[in-house]
Amino acid sequence: MNRLSWFNAVSLTLGFAFLYIPMVILIIFSFNESKLVTVWAGFSTKWYGELIRNQAFLDAAWVTLRVAVFSSTLATILGTMAAYVLVRGGRFLGRTLFSGMIYAPLVMPEVITGLSLLLLFIGVGLDRGVFTVVLAHTTFSMCYVSVVVSSRLITFDRSLEEAALDLGCSPAQAFRLVTLPIIAPAVISGWLLAFTLSLDDLVIASFTTGPSATTLPIKIFSAVRLGVSPEINALSTLMIALVTVGVITASLVTKRAMVRQKQEEQAAARAA
C-alpha cells in the first residue's frame, strides 16, 4: 500500500513511545546499583538477588501461580461449555438471563464483584484463602473465555459437525473429534487470557482472600503504596519479560496453526 505520510509516522512514533517508554525506564532502573530509584549509580543485578532471597515474595508468587493455574483451567472448561451452550444450545428457559450473566462481569467494576463475592463467602461460612480466590477468579474469567470461544464458534462451519454425526459419531465424539480441534486455538487463547487476568488481579483477590493466602499483586500493592522501590522494579521486569515471551510464543504458535490449517483445507479441496 501507500507509504506512511509524515503525520501518520509522527503519531505512530509518539504513540508507541508513550506506550513503551515507561516500561523501558522501569526495566533500566531495575539494574540500578543505588537504592534511590531515581538516581543512576551504575549497573547491578543485586535487586534480583534480594528478590530471590525475599521469602514473602516467593510465597506470594507460589500462591498466585497456584490460583492462576486452577482458576484458568476451571474457567476454560466452564467458559467453553457456556460458549457452546450460547452458540449451539438453541432456545432454553432463561437464555437471556444466562447471556446477561456472561456479559455483565466483563463491565462490572472489580470493587463490586469483589465485595459481593466476599459477602457470599461469609454468608455461607467459607474460610477465606486460596480456594475462595480460585472461585472468584474462575467466575469472572470464565466470561472472558466464553466470549473468546464463542466468537470462534460463530464463524465455524456447522456442516462439519453434521457430517461427523451423519457418519455415525455420537454427539460427544463429534465434539471431541471435530469441534474441539477446530476451536482449540480459541480455547488456548482463552486459557492464556484467564491465566493473565488471574495473575494480574489485585482488587478481587484483596476482597476474597484471607490472611493465609497473600497473592503477588496484593504484596506489590502494599509495597508500592510506600513509594517506588528497586526490588519491585526487578520483580516488574521479570513479569514483563515473562509476558512478552509468552505473548510472542503464543502468537507464533497460532500463526503456524492457521497456516497449517489453510494448507490442509487447500489439500482437501484439491483432493475433492
Binding site: 466452564l78 444466562f98 522494579n233
Partner: protein, 293 residues
C-alpha cells in the same frame, strides 16, 4: 439429558457466584448498620421468606449516603474524571489507530501486537511505572530541569493530572483496537471519491473517515468510560488524597472503616449509575452486529 447437564453447570455456577452475591449486597445495604458491623455473620433465614425481608427493609444507609457530601461528591467526581479521561484517550488513541490503518500491510500485525502487548502486562505494574516518572524528583522532572524548560520541579504525582495520565496510558489499547478495526474495514475508494468530488483532505477526513469510524469510536469510549468510573488502583496510587473516586471510597469504607452496610449501599448506587452506559453500550454492540449481518 446431556444437553441439560451442559447448560446447567455453567448456569448454576454463574447464578451462585454472580447473581446471588448481588442480592446479598442489596440485602446488606438495606440492613441495620449496628447489627451488621463485623464480625457479623449475616442471618439468611430464607425460610422466613420474602416478608421478613421486606419487614426488615431499612433505607438508613442510603439516606446516610445522601446526607454526607463525601459520597455524592465522589460519584460526581468519578463520572467527571471518567468523561474527561475518555475524551483524552480518544484524542491520543485516534491518531495512533489511524496511523496503524494507513501503515503498510506487512507492518500491521506487528503494530497490532505492540498495542496488545501492554494489555497483557500487569495493570498494577503499568500504573506503578508512572509513580517513578511523575514524582517530584522523578524522571520527567529530571529531564525537564536538565533541558532547562523548568527550574522548579512540577508537582504532578498525587494530583488529578497524574490520574488522567495513568488512565490514558492503561486504557489506551481499549480505545485503539475498536477504532483500528473500524478504520481497517473502511473502503479507501470512498475517500478518493470524496477528494475527486472536490473535498480537501481535511474535509474528506471530517466528512467520510470520522463518520465511518464512528462505531469504533463509540465502542472504544464505552470500553474506557465504564471501567474507569469504578477504578480503584489508579486513583489510589497516582491520585493522592486529593482525588476523590468512588471505587476508592468503597474500598476505604470496607477495609478502613469496616462499615459493610455502607460499603454495600455505595456499591448498589454505583451499579445504578453504571446501568445507563452499560445498556447504551449493549445496544450499540447489538446494532453493530445486526448491521454486519
Amino acid at each position: 439429558m446431556r444437553r441439560f447437564v451442559l447448560i446447567a453447570i455453567p448456569y448454576l455456577w454463574l447464578l451462585a457466584l454472580f447473581l446471588v452475591p448481588f442480592f446479598i449486597v442489596l440485602k446488606i445495604s438495606l440492613s441495620d448498620a449496628a447489627i451488621a458491623r463485623p464480625p457479623y455473620i449475616p442471618q439468611f433465614d430464607w425460610a422466613e421468606g420474602i416478608w421478613a425481608f421486606v419487614r426488615e427493609l431499612d433505607f438508613e444507609n442510603f439516606i446516610f449516603l445522601t446526607e454526607d457530601a463525601l459520597y455524592w461528591k465522589a460519584y460526581l467526581s468519578s463520572v467527571k474524571i471518567a468523561l474527561i479521561s475518555t475524551a483524552l484517550t480518544l484524542l491520543v488513541g485516534y491518531p495512533i489507530a489511524y496511523g496503524m490503518a494507513r501503515a503498510p500491510e506487512e507492518w500491521r500485525p506487528t503494530l497490532m501486537m505492540l498495542v496488545i502487548l501492554p494489555f497483557w502486562t500487569s495493570f498494577l505494574i503499568r500504573v506503578y511505572a508512572w509513580m517513578g516518572i511523575l514524582s517530584n524528583e522523578g524522571y520527567l522532572n529530571q529531564f525537564l530541569m536538565w533541558t532547562g524548560i523548568i527550574s522548579e520541579p512540577l508537582i504532578i504525582l498525587n494530583t488529578p493530572a497524574a490520574v488522567y495520565i495513568g488512565i490514558v496510558y492503561t486504557y489506551l489499547p481499549f480505545m485503539i483496537l475498536p477504532i483500528y478495526a473500524a478504520l481497517d474495514r473502511l473502503d479507501g475508494s470512498l475517500i478518493e471519491a470524496a477528494e475527486d468530488l472536490g473535498c480537501s483532505r481535511a474535509q474528506a477526513f471530517w466528512l467520510v473517515t470520522i463518520p465511518l469510524s464512528r462505531p469504533g469510536i463509540i465502542a472504544g469510549c464505552f470500553l474506557v468510560m465504564i471501567p474507569v468510573i469504578g477504578e480503584f488502583v489508579i486513583p489510589s496510587l497516582l491520585g493522592g488524597s486529593g482525588t476523590l473516586m468512588i471505587g476508592k471510597v468503597l474500598w476505604e469504607e470496607f477495609f478502613s472503616n469496616r462499615d459493610w452496610p455502607v460499603a454495600s449501599a455505595v456499591a448498589v448506587v454505583l451499579l445504578l449509575i453504571l446501568v445507563i452506559p452499560i445498556v447504551l453500550f449493549q445496544r450499540n454492540q447489538q446494532k453493530q452486529a445486526e448491521a454486519e449481518q
